[in-house]
């Protein structure tokens, strides 16, 4: 196993902003990400319920990715204006990525 020091970035936003966020991250060549749907949560904008049968725009989603420190900072600062106007949050954690050695 190769151990690499990375930063984990978790972005929680509304479902209606997901496509936008994916596109923004694609622009800076992010290696990959995982998306968690139908989250419930409580924030300054009130309580967001989980899955609504016929309206997916209000549900919450989380996008998680593991990138190097420089890129993580770029993302956090670059998305600042977006998060000023849209409800959501970014969390950065130090993490180690264990990558299997492949022949």
């Amino acid at each position: 196993m190769i151990m690499q020091k990375m930063k984990k970035i978790e972005i929680i936003i509304e479902g209606s902003s997901l496509e936008v966020l994916k596109r923004l991250l694609d622009k800076i060549d992010i290696p990959g990400y995982t998306i968690f749907h139908n989250l419930e949560g409580m924030g300054s904008h009130g309580f967001h319920e989980g899955h609504l049968l016929f309206n997916e725009e209000d549900a919450l989603v989380m996008l998680m990715s593991v990138v190097d420190e420089a890129k993580a900072n770029d993302i956090a600062f670059g998305l600042e204006p977006f998060l000023q106007k849209h409800s959501g949050a970014i969390f950065l954690t130090d993490t180690i990525r264990a990558k299997a050695k492949k022949d």
Partner: protein, 1017 residues
Amino acid sequence: MIVSNKEILYLNSLIENAVDLFHNFWPMTSFIHHNPLHGFENMHFEDAINKAQNYFHNRKFLSRQEYQEFFKKGKIKPEKLQDEIENYCQKNEEDGVYAKLYFYILTNTSESVISNDKTEDFIEFLQEKLSSTCAMQKSQKLGLNFGFCDALDNLYDTNLCEEINQKLCKMSMRHLDEGQAVWAPPEKEKGMYFSWKRIIKKDRVFFNKSLQICRILTLSDKPEDIIYWVLQELKIPKDEWEDFFVLQFAKLHGWTGFLRWRSTNQDYLYQKKYPAYLEEFLAIRLYFLYMYLKKTEKKLGYFPDFLRLEQELAKKESFLRIQYNSGKMVPKFIEKYEQAEKNSSLEQVYEEYMLIYNETYKQESAKFLFKCLKGFDGIFEDYGLLLDRLNAFEEQEGFIWLKAMEESYIEDLMIEMLPNIQSQRLNVFDAQFFFCIDVRSESIRRHIENIANIETFGIGGFFGIPLKLIDIPKRDESNLCPAVVKPKNVVYKFEEGEGKESIKLKKALRHIYHDLKYNTMSAYIMVETIGLLFGFDFFGKTILPNLYMPFRKKVFNEENSGKLLIDKYPKDEILERIKLLQREIVKVALKEKYELNVENLDDEIDEFLQMATSHEDVLRLEKGRIKPISRLAISLNLLHYEEVEFLRILKQQYQISYFHKHRHIEKLSKVGFTFKEQVFYAKNALKLTGLTKSFAPIVVFCGHESKSENNPYESALDCGACGGKSSDTNGRVLTYILNKPEIREALKPDIDIPKNTIFVAALHNTVTDKIKIHTYAIPKDRLPEIMSLQKKIDLASANSALERAKRLPLADKLNDKKALKFIERNLHDWSQPRPEWGLATNHSFIIGPRDISQGIKFKNRVFLHSYDYKKDKIGYYLEIILSAPLVIGEWINMEHFFSALDNKAFGSESKVYHNVVGRFGVISGNMSDLRTGLAAQSVHLKGKVYHEPLRLMTFIDAPFYEYRIAIDKIRKVSELVYNEWVKMIFIDRKEEAFFYYHGNSKRWKKIEFCKIEEKSL
């Protein structure tokens, strides 16, 4: 210069923030009604309209004359108007005499008096009283509604705004085209920015290698580089970047809206093939802006960047220039100004102008005061203060009228519904009909209930089943569900009921027709020979539409019921089908490549397919080997290298590979609904509307659609809950599901459907109001019942059509027979810009059992959704209704509201000037911003407002204290209610009162039933 990742993200974040204010625009093949001010819904309604004016330059409300007409017709009650005025005075701490004055001004409609001595005296008197007032002189600043081009246009009478807009429109039309243009721009598949760069480099006027910006254009592929560079060159402060972007997008908000939709819908076919994004649009716009500013630099002697322009605007002479160029200058000063401009002595004449300006202002103000005060019985001390207050009042006048009108309507609705609320009906019905909540269902439901013992229900037109329909005969793919939902299930539709030969002939005819129409040479060659055929078509369509059009539609096979694939395939059947399909493909490939006709070699082909679709490279070229490995190659006498070559061709050209096989499996797995899903959706549809027992022998799910000719807005008249398409398919799917005994078994004990109840699908045509019950899936023994029901329905349809005809211009004066013929003709008449009124005049949404609205003539103005709170203990189904059907209803209501209010800013003006562009939208004339709203003919009649702009008045029949939490739980709905985009009223039978969210006091008001009863007497 290359921007860093951080800057790229930063710029794009700002762009996303900026475009939030502009609503999405869907392609018109599935027109989605939307609120033009959707981006402002987080603000209060009044604040939103005030703010929106900065971007859209719209009028904020109807004119006083228009409201006075409503007042005359009794649509606005005097006491309600008085209440609103008093509320306004209270908020602004103005005393009683002002309230009286405002009421007098609003309701006084006497014609202007001919000027005589007395009036002249009074005006002079007023002028003296105003001697201390002076016009507010606001020097223009660069900002939200005054950008670089606006500044230069106003200062130097250039036409920059228009010219830049034209460049962008031309470019957008070119790149976003979806098959209407025969020639496409170069390398369109590489993206809008890339393709545009290739063209602009050949432009001698707008591309100059010596300029830095052109060098950046050549070296960089990222639009952000141009954006960043221009922002630096123009020296715009960083905190103003977002506003600057908003301004740029606002200039062409139609194209912005469409690009915004495309950039968030990566699955859209044309976006996949020919990507186009907002940052590219902005970069191109900023490029042109910079080039035009560079050109004016020569004329002005300085480069008009932000700081320099602000300096210029602060000068006194700029005020004069702006006054002159924007047409506001006092006429008698114009010649002097022109003289001074020639002599460059504008600064000197400034003071002189200000004197005249102030004098004129005082004169105009005095005339204004006179108009307000004439005939009014009241005394005022301070006329300057009176003038200020009157000006402020005029700014808010429209909201006062609007609220008074809504209050009047709400009270009338309460009075009308009260008798129904206080009584109860219990009946056994012969049939039950489910209609869409669409306002056009209201009259047909009423007439059906009058004619026969039938109960009707309202539910969102998609019947609670969101699905994606892949229509194979029409080669069309559409989402049949509200725009806020992404369907997870796919339904295929196949052609049915025709012999192979007739299909071939019709296909050939269609091909020829379309080829001739779009081929450039045919205009020269074919006119003499086949021109007559087209002439035949032209005359047929125009002179005998009722006879000719049905025949034409048959030839072009435009109507076919088709066969639907609803059940999910079990996995082994999916694999079997894929195997069969791939087998056929291999046979076709062998014929095309080697001209071999292959029969009886199925096993060998299957073995070859195994090799082709396996994960590893099973069949690799072995050097020196001649004898083939696969049995198929052996049987066909192919050599080894030939079989390897064939494998490669299958993979690359015929999509037979591991990847493609699993993709097909995934796609086919999405086809249809599993058993569990079928039960779920069936249960939802019935529980939402409250029909869980006492089923009639026949239950009809009636989808609806509209048909018209030559109407780019046809989709706007279809079902809004189905994404602007016909809701026929959803009805058919639901009936298929509910007729299955196993489903009925699974629904027990909550929902008990008797054995003899059959579910039937029908289609309501909203132009003619005809309802056709689909008979192909009905067992033979039930057919007589259905036919007799159809006869009753036909009579109700005719009655409903006649009622609606009375509101259609040209048809209202015809006798019954002629009126029906006229309506029938609207289906085929390609010169008719208004085949039906559609959803115009909508104003309310009623959520509750049919009992409360039964028998009341709503004149097709109300959305009716069935709901029974007694069967929804926790409010779960109410939440579902609020989160989707109500939101869609609000979009429809707001679309009509703003298109009627200001058809130029939010609507799309007259259909006469429309040109379809790119097959997805319309523009006015030959070059304009994309028009995104409703046409004038849809909301206006003879130049006057026909759709009365009123916010959606929503009534919910449920106990207030227990069920109001449903509103608070859904963020979007609570935003709409508390920001007053919709008016919300609960009908609480337990408390015997209405609970109404009153915006003025920002709380829920309780209005007892008895008080309403008193008013009705």
